[in-house]
Amino acid sequence: MQGRSGLAAVAAIALFATGLTSGALPVFAAEPDPEPERGRALYLEYQCWQCHGYEGQGGAAPRVASVAYPWEAFAQFVRFPNVMPAYPPGQLDDDRLRLIYTYVRSLPEPPARDQIPALRGD
């Protein structure tokens, strides 16, 4: 059975899907941050890259690039994680977390497999 963190994340996704927001979680601003580099600087400063890679590609932890996490779910995973260390607001406040989220969401989709000869699988 998943612990509190897993269930909470699922609940957050469900809440998002219904258009409701949780009073306990920060509300994401409608407009994306025009300077995703601020988020990248924080992504590096808070060592997210150690496990998720410099480009969010994953490694010791799951890929975060090109994953359409709703904000509420993303925040829930960070605050109440299953496996990764927890980042409480006192260490990483909501504003900064939102900038990191914006940066992660801005990571471009990589080339398709058929555009990379070494990955054509033959």
């Binding site: 060592q47 150690q50 890679g53 480009e55 010791a60 496996v83 260490q91 990379i116 070494a118």
Partner: protein, 649 residues
Amino acid sequence: MKNDDKREQLNRRDFLTSATAVGVAAASLGRSATAADTGPTTAKPAPPTETELANEFDELDNYSTADVEDYFVDRPGSDFMVDVVKSLDIDYITTNPGSSFRGLHESLVNYGGNARPELLTCPHEEQAVAMAHGYAKVAGKPLAMLAHGTVGFQHAAMAVYNAWCDRVPVILLGGNHYDATERRAGVEWAHSAQDAAATVKDYVKWDDTPHSLRHFAESMMRAYKIAMTPPMGPVVVMLDGHLQEAATGDVPLSIPAMAPTIRPVGDTGAVREAARWLVAAESPAIAADRMAHDQQGMDLLVEFAELLQAPVVNLRGRLNFPNTHYLSQGRGELSRADVILGLEANDPWSLVNSVSDRVHRKPRRTAQADARVVTIGVGDLYQKSNYQNFQRYFAADLSIAGDAQATLPELIRAVKQEMTGNRRRSNRDREKRWREKHAKRRADSLDAARYAWDASPVSTARVYMELWQLVRDRDWAMVSEDRQQSSWARRLWPLEKHYQYIGGSGGAGVGYGAPAAVGGALAHREHGRLPVNVQRDGDMMYVPGVFWTAAHHEIPLLTVTHNNRGYHQEFMHLQRMASRRRRGMDGSALVGNALRDPEPDLAKIAAGMGCWSAGPITDPNALRPALNRALDVVSNGEPALVDVVCQPR
């Protein structure tokens, strides 16, 4: 007495030939011959005294008998030791030289011809043992390592521990001076111990201190036998300095025959019971750890898995099952199984449980509540208690003692006997399901490899797939583990032959990687294979001198670094600790872990050791040309290293 002085003294032959009627023999009686002693005599000359014999000179070198006894040994004990070692099919001895075994060292070179075994010079004893570790996993037989029993074994200890945990045979030969009255002052005392093997005794299978050459011969036979009997492991034979250097004497010496132990097979009744459970299971699964000793082991497991249409989870101990086979599946299948078969599983508890890394570590069952576990292995046949590498106690539902590979033929027979028509029919559905899953897993891995493809630092997926393009048409072999590079080799390279992947260190002692890769490459050399080593930067910093050994002994090895500028595993540990204490999460992870400011230049280090090198490379587009050049070097029989600055994992 100087030689010049001796030449002026009476020479025996001269003495005899100059014995005249004057009776020069009188000199031996203490009288000098005088001119007055004239005329022929019929008296025979007296035999020379002991003093005169001691003062006799060798006609060629002018050494007296006493000198010869003091200076020379014609048949030293260590010559016989070489005879014994040569009888054991030990091709190489890795060594860092030392005076406590100078006798054996010289005999290996000048009596043994430095061939079978050949000495491999190592700048560090840890490297010497780790090379033996990697070699044995490819060659299927041990090397010997020769070192000081004190300071040499101290250096080697971590590598010995790794070999112990990984169940790999290594013959450790340690020099020592047991007789206190025979030691020279100073170093020979510092390099002597009453129980020199004590340093490593907790993690070797057996050790002995022979007191005679015949004892040595028997010890070596036993050492080899024990090392190679599953569970395999390192063993120690201590070499007394006096035993090496003194003459063999008149005791007749012979070399006993080597009698290898046949691997134990699991109890027939228990094996049949296991077969019944597995055939009856709706979702059987197999987890193989250090099961396959060789290609035959892999082939047997393929046959067995196909009979049951059961997924095989390849744990990291060895390459037990081809990853291209559709039954090669992920660890998640164990959580869905109703019967799990663990083959030489070092940690059966973790097949069905996990424990979280939180402040309070609560175990959690990960398998089905009613899943049954069968284990087959030799772990329970030999254990030691101090070091805890044996993992958590687990009560398997059926625990069978026996070598898993040796037991598989019996298990296959039993499964065939138990197999029913219904099960064969349902197996067709299983096969279809597993083929689909396997294909999806591969497609997912290929898709995941796209991410950060053009990034700098270079993605580990990019490193592996660029390498793959170069090695795919060669008889290649990975001599490193890929766990810290997101397992890309196991996800995307076709690992189909036993020698193509040798697994990790066993004891997680860092510093194993580079020397084990060189040792593995040494074993591959005679087969003309292309060994590939993806080298972690932190690991390389422990014993970089191994690249000198590879260059000096012409061991071809293609090394590409996974240079993430530090001890990355510990970055993450420190981040976790900072999180737990709610402080320092914005940077403390790098303190005490990073290899920065300055960044070690691994290409220069390798070049300084005589190894061709390139890098550091940060542009992924520069990777292929550098790898091509490196491959040319390796194809000419030499080691090459390309330093690549990489993503963390």
